[in-house]
């Protein structure tokens, strides 16, 4: 079986005059948690809806599980979906919902085992309407997984959850991946993408503007090294070193921005000049910084 669970090639989706997805190409590998990250309206949900077969692309090609235009029935059996805002009947009990959805699939998981894993076993006999936001979200995940899918699509998984419930849900998603399920996660929380995803595609205005591991994306946005030199040092001496993009000297400190070899080259320069750095701080940029920079670059390029 192919190692790529999803391959998207030049996807474009238009609604009337609006272009929701301009040009998206990416592929998702078996067994990874792949994140689609971006602000609202970036085309994230539209893209996953195309993958799930809920929407037809205007142009482009999508192959799921190695087949283009996978037969709708097979797609529904192999792909488990947790959609944004999809409810259940108010008076349906948790265990009944699990049993019902289990009956839809040829080879379902054990509903009780799944409920226990998601911490819902005590809510077995509660009505859907009585569940908290976090419990509904976990039930929704359970229903997405009940059919033993090869690919789980989770859209805005933790929106509206409190921090504790969010952490708990993240744990569940890592567990799923560890069981061999490929996960496609749509989110606009950087922290979530950083914590969970093996690789992230950054969406902006219907395009992919970055695709890498969260760590590499963040590193791309650079580092900041700052220190107080024990003996005076002309900041200009650090300009032009490998990896250094900017040097400034606010109130007795020296701040060096850059990436790549930044730290090594600055430290080497200091040692060779016999300058001892005090109060040294290295600030690693986060995915958030990277994201802000990437989208700003895009916007600047567009204008």
């Amino acid at each position: 079986m192919s190692d790529e669970v999803v391959q998207i090639d030049k996807l474009q989706v238009r609604y009337g005059d609006t272009v929701a997805v301009q040009d998206v190409s990416l592929s998702i590998r078996r067994g990874e948690i792949f994140g689609i990250l971006g602000p609202n309206g970036a085309g994230k949900t539209t893209t996953v809806e195309c993958v799930a077969g809920l929407r037809s692309p205007s142009s482009g090609r999508i192959a799921v599980l190695g087949e283009v235009g996978l037969d709708r029935n097979r797609l529904r059996e192999q792909v488990g979906i947790q959609l944004q805002s999809s409810g259940l009947p108010d008076k349906l009990h948790v265990a009944e919902a699990m049993e019902l959805f289990a009956s839809f699939y040829p080879n379902p998981r054990d509903p009780d085992e799944l409920l226990t894993r998601l911490g819902l076993e005590e809510k077995r006999d509660s009505r859907f309407a009585k569940l908290s936001g976090g419990q509904r979200q976990r039930l929704s995940i359970a229903l997405a997984l009940i059919g033993q899918p090869q690919l789980a699509i989770l859209d805005e998984l933790t929106t509206g959850l409190d921090p504790a419930a969010r952490r708990e849900t993240w744990k569940v998603i890592s567990d799923i991946r560890d069981q061999g399920v490929t996960v496609l996660l749509v989110t606009h929380f950087m922290e979530e993408a950083e914590y969970l995803c093996d690789r992230v595609a950054v969406f902006h205005r219907g395009r992919v503007i970055g695709l890498d591991s969260p760590g590499s994306l963040a590193a791309g946005a650079g580092q900041k090294l700052s220190f107080r030199p024990k003996t005076p040092l002309d900041p200009a001496e650090l300009r032009g070193l490998a990896g250094v993009s900017n040097v400034s000297a606010p109130d007795g400190r020296i701040e060096v921005d850059g990436g790549g070899d930044l730290i090594a080259s600055v430290m080497e320069a200091l040692v060779s000049r016999g300058v001892v750095p005090l109060e040294t701080r290295v600030e690693q940029s986060t995915l958030d910084d990277a994201f802000v920079r990437m989208t700003a670059d895009e916007d600047a390029a567009a204008n």
Partner: protein, 242 residues
């Protein structure tokens, strides 16, 4: 599909409103009125007894209420919540939910119809579907017309609540023409003619005829066929899954 049907049936049971008004109330009303008014021939009712006139009205009551009030509010509510969309991502698809709802309403209404007919006959001396073929044909056409009507309401109403209100209003209007408050025999001829062109208003005399052993009436049956075709086409045209 079996689990889906059982689950939906369970959910129906948890809604006290439709379960009471659609299933218990028409039987109870027939028993109360049957015990107090009886079935003595009455000139003002066209020379037949009250039970003979009232049984067909109660026969369509449950079907009307379940199709117009319960069915559309359930379906529109499921659509509103995104449940139909959620189902469409599973191997069963949302179609089966639609089918399950239709089957449940048809079966529950059929059960009430059987009970009404038996109670009417054995307790109060009403006619027992003497032209059984004609009677059955009428019931089947009534079901197809009313279920199509309910689907059309579900198609047009944006939410479950609106579907419920629209369905209940349609129900009372149609039950008026069926003769719930004023028997058709007591209506003026213009009003009665209008009534005969409404689905339940056509169904009631057709049932009454068939119960008495006559042909239900080609006109009445054609009215029901016409409603079924038009309403089903409209519902098919406007139905949305999300």
């Amino acid at each position: 599909m079996k689990t889906l049907l059982l689950t939906e049936l369970r959910l129906f049971r948890r809604e006290p409103g439709p379960a009471f008004w659609g299933m218990v109330f028409p039987v109870a009303l027939l028993i109360v009125l049957g015990s107090t008014v009886g079935n003595k021939p009455d000139v003002s009712l066209g020379g037949v007894g009250f039970i003979t006139v009232f049984t067909p009205v109660m026969t369509v009551f449950s079907l009307g209420l379940l199709s117009l009030s319960s069915l559309p509010s359930t379906l529109a509510g499921y659509r509103d919540k995104g449940y139909l969309r959620r189902l469409s991502t599973t191997p069963v698809g949302a179609w089966r939910m639609l089918a399950a709802q239709l089957i449940i309403v048809a079966c529950l209404a059929a059960a009430v119809i059987v009970v009404i007919t038996l109670v009417s006959h054995f307790a109060f001396g009403g006619d027992l579907a003497q032209n059984f073929g004609g009677w059955l044909l009428t019931i089947v056409l009534l079901m197809s017309a009313m279920l199509s009507f309910g689907l059309l309401i579900a198609s047009l109403a944006p939410t479950g609540k609106i579907a419920n209100v629209a369905g209940s209003m349609s129900f009372f209007v149609l039950m008026f023409f069926a003769g719930l408050w004023v028997p058709q025999a007591a209506m003026g001829s213009t009003l009665r003619t209008i009534a005969h062109y409404t689905p339940l208003g056509a169904g009631v005399p057709a049932i009454q005829n068939a119960a008495a052993g006559l042909w239900p009436g080609t006109n009445h049956l054609l009215v029901l066929v016409g409603y079924t075709i038009v309403l089903a086409l409209l519902a098919g045209r406007f139905f949305r899954w999300e």
